[in-house]
């Protein structure tokens, strides 16, 4: 039983949400609601929330967030040939979206699929989220499964020729949105998913990704920029033999963001890479929480997280590699680094290893510090102005994370965003 105080917080949070019963989705929602009832919402005293205060994420009403005008900077991924699906404050915008027709790809929306009797997504919706609740509870993901009303369901049988681009527009200052996506790649299939935009004043998103043998999934997201929104996102992925998962996230400011990635490497010889570049100036709290479980033999995982912080920005990294006894020949790597541009910022990290197999190679590294004065001096001695030299060094620091993007055009787009952001936030 949940202690009363926590039960009260939970009922206040869900009081305004409408629970849609019935159908295959209704059953999954009920299961999630009962999971949530056992866990309760996160509290500041929880070990897993040691460095991030969940208050804004669990409050009954979403804290207001002004909508943001990006000025003349074109939206990210604009130059990429892609299939666009647009959500405005969580509501699907058909007019702004492309026709969801792509060879070898089935695309449905959660709201319409819920009305069907049988849907492939019933084997996935809430399933990976439920698996991901052990050994650490992720109540905000269960909350999402129980109450999300929209999302996309993507099933891929071949090689998708264009990326699917999910665009989240923020229009109302008080919008409180939960989206839940399910993505299933059949054996040998390949898909790239792009995500961008702040989405809402408060955004709760879950993406469940199920990769069959040899499937390849690429995920690149840019989480809006300079917005005031609060967000909790979860990616749950399950990899069969030989599957490849690659995810990169760019975060350029934002009041509060908690990105959780939970990956299970079940099949042998699978590989998962998760990377992130975050730049924060001022009121910025960014939390990357990653949990990778190795079950299969000979799998590889790699976590690369870089944060640039100034003016009181806070960067958090909680990363874990869990290697089960069966996962011999595991290669696990994890690096988390922060670069602090002034005295006020904070970097809080908990990089963990939990290892039960002996024939493994696992390592993690974590560093924090200021810009290297000798490197700065070197550049200045060669005539590079101080600010330009500093930007150059910051970009060099972020490079290892950006290198995790396979597509060079997308990587270049991301690099450009960072350069623009840095020049706007110089000094």
């Amino acid at each position: 039983m949940l202690p009363k105080a926590r039960a009260d917080v939970l009922s206040a949070r869900i009081a305004g949400l409408s629970f849609v019963p019935g159908g295959w989705l209704g059953a999954a929602r009920e299961d999630a609601l009962s999971r949530l009832g056992m866990m309760g919402l996160p509290a500041r005293r929880d070990e897993y929330w040691r460095y991030t205060d969940p208050a804004d994420l669990i409050a009954a009403a979403a804290p207001a967030a002004a909508t943001f005008d990006a000025g003349d900077e074109p939206p990210v991924f604009d130059g990429i040939d892609r299939l666009k699906l647009v959500f405005v404050d969580g509501v699907f915008d058909a007019a702004a979206s492309d026709d969801p027709a792509l060879a070898g790809v089935e695309i449905d929306r959660l709201s319409t699929a819920a009305l069907t009797d049988i849907h492939w997504a019933r084997e996935l919706y809430g399933v990976l989220e439920a698996r991901g609740q052990n050994p650490v509870a992720r109540p905000l993901a269960a909350l999402n499964t129980a109450f999300a009303t929209e999302g996309v369901l993507i099933r891929v049988t071949g090689r998708a020729e264009r990326p699917i681009s999910l665009i989240y527009t923020h229009a109302s200052e008080t919008s409180d949105v939960a989206l839940h996506h399910c993505i299933r790649l059949e054996a040998g299939a390949e898909l790239t998913v792009l995500e961008n935009g702040p989405a809402a004043a408060r955004f709760n998103k879950v993406m469940e990704v199920d990769l069959a043998e040899g499937a390849r999934f690429h995920h690149i997201r840019a989480q809006g920029r300079d917005h005031e929104r609060r967000a909790a996102t979860h990616v749950f992925a399950r990899l069969a033999e030989g599957a490849r998962f690659k995810s990169f996230t760019l975060t350029a400011n934002g009041v509060l963001t908690r990105n959780e990635v939970v990956i299970e490497l079940l099949g042998n010889e699978a590989s998962a890479h998760v990377a992130g570049a975050a730049v924060g100036d001022g009121q910025f709290h960014h939390d990357d929480t990653v949990f990778i479980t190795h079950e299969g033999r000979g799998c590889e995982s790699r976590q690369v997280f870089k944060k640039v912080l100034k003016n009181g920005a806070v960067g958090v990294f909680q990363g874990k590699i869990l290697v089960r006894q069966t996962a011999q020949k595991t290669d696990g790597y994890q690096i988390s680094q922060s670069l602090m541009l002034d005295e006020d910022s904070q970097f809080l990290a908990k990089p963990e290893l939990e290892i039960y197999a002996d024939d493994v190679k696992c390592s993690h590294g974590s560093t924090s510090g200021a810009i290297d004065e000798t490197a700065l001096f070197y550049l200045r001695a060669r005539g590079v102005p101080e600010k330009a030299a500093q930007s150059l060094l910051v970009l060099a620091f972020l490079a290892e994370a950006i290198q995790e993007i396979a597509d060079e055009a997308i990587a270049e787009d991301i690099r450009q965003r960072l350069e623009n952001w840095l020049s706007r936030h110089e000094g």
Partner: protein, 506 residues
């Protein structure tokens, strides 16, 4: 050969030589200090209550303030819950089912000098290899350039038997005695510093210790004095069903220096025994303390029967500017180890170092590490931790590096490496890194591996046979830490770790 040994042998993988496995196994399999001294003991009644706290205080003839201090701790302890966040699992401890005070009957009247101590007790320490005579410890030992002296405080169950070299230390102004004696002879110093580093409210086990600590060592090094010899305390648990709760307080006044060694053993028994110690170190301006531990409590048998529950709070407070502390620990014993020797780097330019080798074999569980709390400017810390897991053991490094906003221009370097031998053990790393200013630099590296094939290949391609190659690699794995031990302890540590891990090098 037991069934388990056979099984373990079958699990030997390429690259881990048999000798390494055997010797790691041998460390608990042939626990050398598992014998018992048959001696008449006086016990306080079993269980824990205010009366027991009063009784312990009364036995030590303590002043009123200390009894009140103990009672306050006891009352607080009653309201606390046992911490369960460590990666160790054990059945609930019945705190009422053990003795909190056990004293050899012959110690009823405190002997005036070590010459008057019961020969059986002296023989116990002789057998452990601890000289309680004022002799040159390393006389005749090869490699020792000149004979060196070590002063020893011998703690047997709940009481200190005596301390050697007291007169010679007194000449230098150094106070080295049991804490019960210090309470009587140097009440001002004890009252000023006791609980100032580990307050009685600190944590469950430290609070319990504050209520029932029976003895331990006290050290005071006056300003400007370099302690003329190594100081050492040797803890021996002998009595059955008895917890040992010693309390050590070390105060290094301005610009002083001391090297302190601690050793511990216990008899083999089928039941678990509790050891909850507190060590407090106060270091003032420009002073330096080296604290080395070889922890060799009985680890339990292959099935996990018996062994010591070692729940210890150790903390050094670098209160003065340029103060320096160095913790070195070799953890080979105990069924469960819960221990985080920490450094509070309060003074500007103060330094903390932590070197650790933790070996867990069979059913042992170790959750150990350190905390480096940087408060002063330009403070430096260094952590080197080497964990070796074998059998079904679980070995966890847990550490905190915290840079406070005012601790500008500070520096930390952490390296923790784990080595796994066999596929049923676990090695875990749980570091917390909290950086709250930008001018400080924090670096953390951790690796987990078996003996590296590339390194083996490199050695073998240069003509070494496989056993020598493995020995060389494993030797290199723990060498950083072994080298930080003082000569006197390096010998004991080597007999525990180095012989086993370096044995095949010859």
């Amino acid at each position: 050969m037991t069934a388990l040994e056979t099984e373990l042998r079958a699990d030997v993988r390429d690259g881990v030589d048999r000798e390494t496995i055997d010797t790691v196994q041998a460390m608990s399999g042939s626990y050398k200090h598992g014998w018992e001294t048959e001696i008449e003991m006086d016990y306080a009644p079993k269980g824990l209550s205010e009366d027991i706290v009063r009784l312990i205080s009364g036995k030590n003839n303590e002043p009123e303030w200390l009894l009140d201090w103990r009672l306050a701790a006891y009352r607080r302890w009653l309201k606390m819950t046992e911490p369960r966040w460590a990666m160790v699992h054990y059945p609930d401890i019945d705190y009422q089912d053990q003795y909190y005070y056990a004293k050899p009957r012959s110690m009823a009247v405190k002997p005036k000098s070590l010459d008057e101590v019961d020969p059986k007790l002296l023989a116990t320490y002789e057998k452990l290899g601890i000289p309680l005579k004022e002799q040159m410890l390393l006389a005749g030992v090869e490699g020792a350039a000149e004979p060196r002296k070590v002063a020893v405080d011998a703690v047997f169950d709940s009481v200190s038997l005596g301390t050697t070299f007291k007169a010679e230390l007194a000449k230098a102004g150094v106070i080295f005695c049991s804490i019960s004696e210090a309470v009587r002879e140097h009440p001002d110093l004890v009252q000023k510093y006791l609980g100032s580093v580990v307050p009685p409210t600190d944590n469950f086990f430290a609070t319990l210790n504050s209520a029932v600590f029976s003895d331990g060592s006290f050290v005071y090094i006056p300003p400007g004095v370099r302690c003329p010899m190594e100081l050492s305390t040797y803890f021996r648990i002998n009595a059955e069903n008895t917890g040992q709760f010693e309390r050590t307080l070390i105060v290094a006044d301005r610009a002083s220096y001391v090297s302190y060694l601690e050793g511990c053993t216990a008899p083999k028994r089928d039941t678990h025994q509790l050891h909850a110690a507190v060590v407090e170190i106060v270091i003032l301006d420009d002073a330096e303390v080296k604290y080395s531990t070889v922890q060799n409590w009985y680890p339990g048998d292959e099935e996990g029967r018996g062994g010591i529950y070692n729940f210890v709070t150790k903390r050094a407070d670098c209160r003065g500017d340029r103060a320096k502390v160095m913790w070195t620990q070799v953890e080979t014993g105990s069924a469960i180890t819960w221990k985080y020797p920490s450094c509070i780097l309060r003074g500007d330019d103060s330094q903390g170092e932590f070197y650790s080798i933790a070996i867990a074999n069979n059913a042992q569980q170790a959750d150990t590490g350190t905390k480096m709390v940087h408060l002063g400017k330009r403070t430096k810390s260094r952590i080197v931790s080497k964990g070796i897991s074998a059998g079904r053991a679980q070995n966890t490094y847990r550490g905190l590096v915290s840079m406070h906003p005012k601790a500008t221009d500070s520096r930390n370097y952490t390296q923790c490496d784990s080595l796994l031998i066999g596929d049923r053990c676990g090695a875990h790393t749980v570091p917390y890194i909290e950086v709250r200013n930008a001018s400080s630099r924090v670096e953390h590296e951790a690796t987990t591996s078996k003996v590296d094939d590339d390194q083996l290949f490199y050695c073998r391609s240069r003509g070494m046979d496989e056993e020598a190659a493995v020995a060389l690699v494993v030797n290199g794995f723990v060498k950083d830490v072994l080298q930080t031990l003082p000569m006197e302890f390096a010998m004991e540590a080597q007999s525990l770790v180095a012989i086993s891990l370096e044995g095949s090098v010859g």
